[in-house]
């Protein structure tokens, strides 16, 4: 058994010497049986268990039994993740933007994660992370301006263009960042370019082509296809 963090190993050794026993059991196998000790046993309780580390069945006396359970993520975690547009891992804990380079930010701008929502943590770690998040937020505010992605999407509203938004709101449904909203007055979708990360999935979903993704517009990609294919055909013709 190992502990993590500064001074915890010493604390563990100290506790072990004071007759505190840390025992692990396998949740899948048979669970420990705790019984009231008989009068001549000189203790309150008896524990009979299959100890995981030694693999042996042991019986030990005890005066007090504390059951330590593993930390689980909250059951509503998926709803929260979906609402704010951040990711969760296999154990339903939130994922940071980058484990080393950006450990408190998430893939959604302005959303930060702190404490046990990210992983099981103790109080000092949670406090340290909270301070880190506060500093991270201040660094963003102190800059005075927000740098947006280059490849954001935008809705074409110009009347002379035939590819005009028909207000079907497909883009709103597919956007993973809730960056698109509906302008009820104009009956068109509006992209919040600060929230948009430029994945372009709205552009693929748009039936009229009114929503455009900067640097990856339909016209640009189709021109790429045409260019590449005409080159291939030319090369084939030259060879034969």
């Amino acid at each position: 058994m190992r502990t993590f963090g500064k001074g915890c190993e010493e604390f563990y050794t100290l506790s072990s010497r004071k007759n505190i026993k840390f025992l692990m059991f396998d949740q899948e196998n048979e669970l420990p049986i705790i019984t009231k000790a008989a009068a001549d046993d000189n203790c309150d309780l008896l524990i009979e268990m299959n100890e995981k580390l030694s693999g042996k069945t042991i019986e030990i006396p005890a005066d007090m039994v504390i059951l330590m359970v593993g930390t689980e993520a909250h059951e509503n975690v998926k709803d929260i993740a979906h609402t704010v547009g951040i990711s969760i891992d296999g154990n339903a804990f939130f994922i940071e933007k980058h484990p080393k380079l950006d450990p408190v930010a998430t893939t959604t701008n302005g959303v930060y994660i702190v404490g046990t929502c990210q992983a099981p943590k103790d109080i000092p770690d949670s406090v340290a992370q909270a301070k880190a998040a506060a500093a991270r937020i201040l660094a963003t505010i102190a800059k005075g301006s927000v740098t947006v992605e280059v490849t954001t999407a935008f809705v074409n509203e110009e009347i002379f263009n035939e590819e005009i938004c028909c207000g079907c709101q497909t883009c709103i449904k597919v956007c993973p960042y809730t960056a698109i909203s509906f302008d009820a007055e104009k009956k068109v979708s509006v992209v919040n370019e600060i929230l948009c990360k430029g994945c372009g999935t709205c552009g693929s979903g748009c039936p009229t082509g009114a929503i455009k993704c900067r640097h990856f517009t339909d016209t640009q990609i189709i021109s790429e296809i045409e260019g590449l294919m005409s080159m291939s055909l030319l090369m084939d013709a030259q060879e034969s």
């Binding site: 597919v174 993973p176 979903g205």
Partner: protein
């Protein structure tokens, strides 16, 4: 002269394009029949792009995205998967064999897998022969 197929590949910027780049920087040799188009996310790949590629004379289309759960944009690859399933049905009705359109997950570290994938796909498509869609379309119009 042996027949050389042309494959148009749509690679997502974060995983597959980097994976293809890795294949290059690690100096892996793979078949030169592939024509790469970079998109920010496999979710950006419109069915139109795939059909346009076939229309312009591509013999096959390959779409590569991040592995499920690894998408840089959370779920773009799932959206691509949904469009791909529909598109598979559609192209078969147009007389294009289903082997000519593939969706594969390639991560940024899978340069070797990418190289093998391109080789394997080139071989499969070479066996099928040229895609006739372009010629048929030209005859009609």
């Amino acid at each position: 002269m042996s027949y050389k197929p042309t494959i148009v590949a749509f690679l997502c910027n974060w995983c597959s394009y980097t994976g293809a780049d890795l294949a290059g920087t690690s100096r892996m040799k793979y078949s030169p029949n592939i024509r790469v188009i970079r998109v920010m996310c496999s979710g950006r790949v419109e069915p139109t792009f795939v059909l346009k590629s076939f229309r312009e004379g591509a013999d096959a289309v390959l779409i590569c995205g991040c592995h499920p759960g690894d998408c840089h944009y959370h779920e773009g690859n799932y959206k691509c998967l949904r469009r791909y399933e529909l598109l598979q049905k559609y192209i078969q009705q147009m007389g294009i064999e289903k082997e000519r359109l593939r969706l594969e997950w390639v991560s940024a570290s899978e340069g070797k897998i990418f190289a093998e994938l391109v080789n394997e796909m080139t071989e499969t498509v070479a066996k099928l022969g040229p895609c006739t869609v372009r010629k048929v379309m030209e005859t009609i119009s």
